[in-house]
Amino acid sequence: MKQNWWKYIGVLLLIYVHLGGLMLEAPRLNILNETVRALYFHVPMWFGMVLLYMISVFYAIKFLRNPLSDADVKSVEYAHVGTAFGILGILTGMLWANYTWGSPWHGDPKQNGAAIALLVYLAYFVLRGSIENDEQKARLSAVYNIFAFAAMIPLIFIIPRLTDSMHPGNGGNPGFNAYDLDSRMRLIFYPAVAAWFLIGLWIVSLRVRYRILQNHLTE
């Protein structure tokens, strides 16, 4: 119970975010209209993904410095849940784009970059699945993890800012200011990021514990 406090905080924040995100006042903006609320649910997916990938690459480096099997398991599972967040982020983005940009896939640099970044991470799982030797698998995938993270950052954060993009915060478009992210929206958005990150950590912890048990049993 005492070790679980962060899970309860995550759950409470998530309930607050859903209630507040749907019912509190949101800025009245043309084109966006009521869909401005999607920000509370779409953007935290990406924040969650990047944070989970960051922890994943941390464990990958930790594994390379000191090959413990636990670091490898953690690295994979963080990447796994991070990818799940990313897929949800891209799907919510497509639905949102359909109503505000006119079609689900616009070939917008932000969308393309995010899709390529996800493919780079999917290749990570393909790589892991294709190597029989566990030691080799862990080492090679840890190296690839670093590459994947280094590719993801420019694909999502830098290239869309250098070119034309309709996505807020990119290509000369204002980020939060476009939504008039005043104190009202911040009050829900930041807790949403924290809540989904905590839920992500929780799912990772479940998967890691399962994998460690599995490893013990197969040994």
Partner: protein
């Protein structure tokens, strides 16, 4: 005089119409008649179900870990 009055009334009407069109459309009716609570309720049920499921998985793993340590 009559013509002037109709003109003012009509122009006032058009002004009212103009400001209404300029106002951003939001789901105000849904909020006014309370149907928004149906949506909020449904989403909360799904969310709570998902969370309950996570807690159950957590408990299951706890039990397995204890069993393994024995």
């Amino acid at each position: 005089m009559k013509r002037f009055l109709t003109l003012t009334i009509l122009s006032l009407c058009s002004l009212v119409g103009y400001t209404q069109a300029a106002e951003v459309e939001m789901a105000d009716t849904m909020r006014a008649n309370g149907k928004i609570y149906v949506v909020v309720g449904i989403i909360l049920i799904v969310l709570l179900g998902f969370i309950a499921y996570l807690f159950m998985l957590d408990r299951k793993l706890n039990r397995l870990e204890k069993e393994y340590k024995k």
